[in-house]
Symmetry: C2
Subunit: 218 residues, 2 copies
DNA sequence: AAGCTAGGTGTACGGCGTACACCTGTCAAC
DNA sequence: GTTGACAGGTGTACGCCGTACACCTAGCTT
């Protein structure tokens, strides 16, 4: 049943996963599903567990920094395989055993790396959703700005207004393409952004760890 | 209408904001609302705009770091006033003028602070949802773990099992209360976590800026 | 006076989650 | 070998949701 739900979400998005639709997919009447899950929330929980179950286990041979990095990037790969997972994870509020297990193991990596329990707590908060391998897509598509792609002057006027009103966003969008204004619509390299922020955080963590940071002494 | 919607969401949560319910609140028939918004998504967009409109404007006298910090913490205050805003912002995909304006102004602060367009782009990604004043609530409530609060041995057994299975989470939860195991259920100081991560990032940004970081030279 | 338009109305459709009562096949205990 | 528990599938129904579509009305412009 979970397998069917995950497959359906992979194929048609998480919105397509309704009790009725899933039941149909399984050749069964909707209410039959309720013999296996208490409600739809629990179904979503189960689906998230499937994804979390795909995270690769920790490699104990690695130092904490590469270990966390590898773990998080593995999570990212799993979440990218299931595009709906981002939304599903964000909407979940209950922590299932699989989720707790993953968080515990990640916390353990920090602890073994010499982080105090205190600092471990804060750095995991600082990582936030990045421990699930995703970060918010703030400007996924700065609506095709300077591009003037297909047609009329109207489009150009719109672009000009955008440029006048949001000059910095335009600048940024252009920078994201390496200076080629015609490629602005393409969006930016999410993987690069992700690793950039991740490494920035990990470096900051290391600095705090090295100086024996503690919330009490702040 | 937006005012009514925001009020309703403040009072009863964003889930209570349905077209029917909102119409009822306004003493009007549901379909009447569609003369003012194209669909419910646009209503949500408008509600987010109201919140973003409450962000305090930038103080041009400040240096970039305190300026960004103040701006983001102001956003946080607004979002905390409207607890539904977090979820609403996360679910939005269209960028309204108010949202674009805020992002543009924030980007401008970085630019004026000496950040390249390139670096500005990346640091804004790194901030992620924190520019809206919130971060994910990863473990909002590590289910009352070591506490053994009200009653039976069963509870104690559960707690013991939790401790055995998720030792690091327990450790973290205890650390969050400053070492008092009886307060574990209380959750942690979100405001502190937020500022911790924010400052960590801002410091990292400053370091990159100072060393003239560029994605090309990476 | 004529006509446009902004905005409110009423009905209806298809979808959703799920409560509740019911049926059926399997299998253990007697 | 019969009985009874139980896991799991069925059917009907309720109340909610977003919204398409046709209609009405008051007020303003010309």
């Amino acid at each position: 049943m979970l397998r069917a739900a995950v497959g359906l979400a992979d194929a048609e998005g998480v919105d397509a996963v309704s009790m009725r639709r899933l039941a149909q997919e399984l050749g069964v009447v909707p209410m039959a599903l309720y013999k296996h899950v208490a409600n739809k929330d629990q179904l979503l929980d189960g689906m998230v567990d499937v994804v979390v179950g795909e995270f690769e286990p920790a490699d104990p041979a690695l130092d904490w920094q590469p270990a966390v990095r590898a773990r998080v990037l593995s999570a990212r790969r799993a979440v990218l395989r299931h595009p709906w997972a981002r939304q599903a994870i964000e909407s979940r509020t209950r922590r299932t055993p699989a989720v707790l297990g993953y968080m515990d193991s990640l916390a353990g990596t920090f602890r073994r790396g010499g982080f105090s329990a205190d600092l471990t707590h804060h750095v995991m908060h600082a990582l936030g959703n990045r421990i699930w391998g995703f970060s918010p897509e703030l400007f996924d598509e700065p609506p095709a700005a300077g591009a003037v792609p297909p047609s009329a002057e109207e489009q150009q006027a719109l672009a000009a207004e955008f440029a006048a009103r949001y000059p910095h966003i335009l600048e940024i969008a252009v920078a994201a393409t390496g200076g080629d204004p015609s490629g602005v619509g393409a969006g930016c390299d999410e993987q690069f952004e992700f690793e950039f922020a991740l490494d920035l955080l990990l470096d900051g963590f290391d600095r705090l760890r090295a100086q024996g940071w503690s919330s009490a002494r702040r």
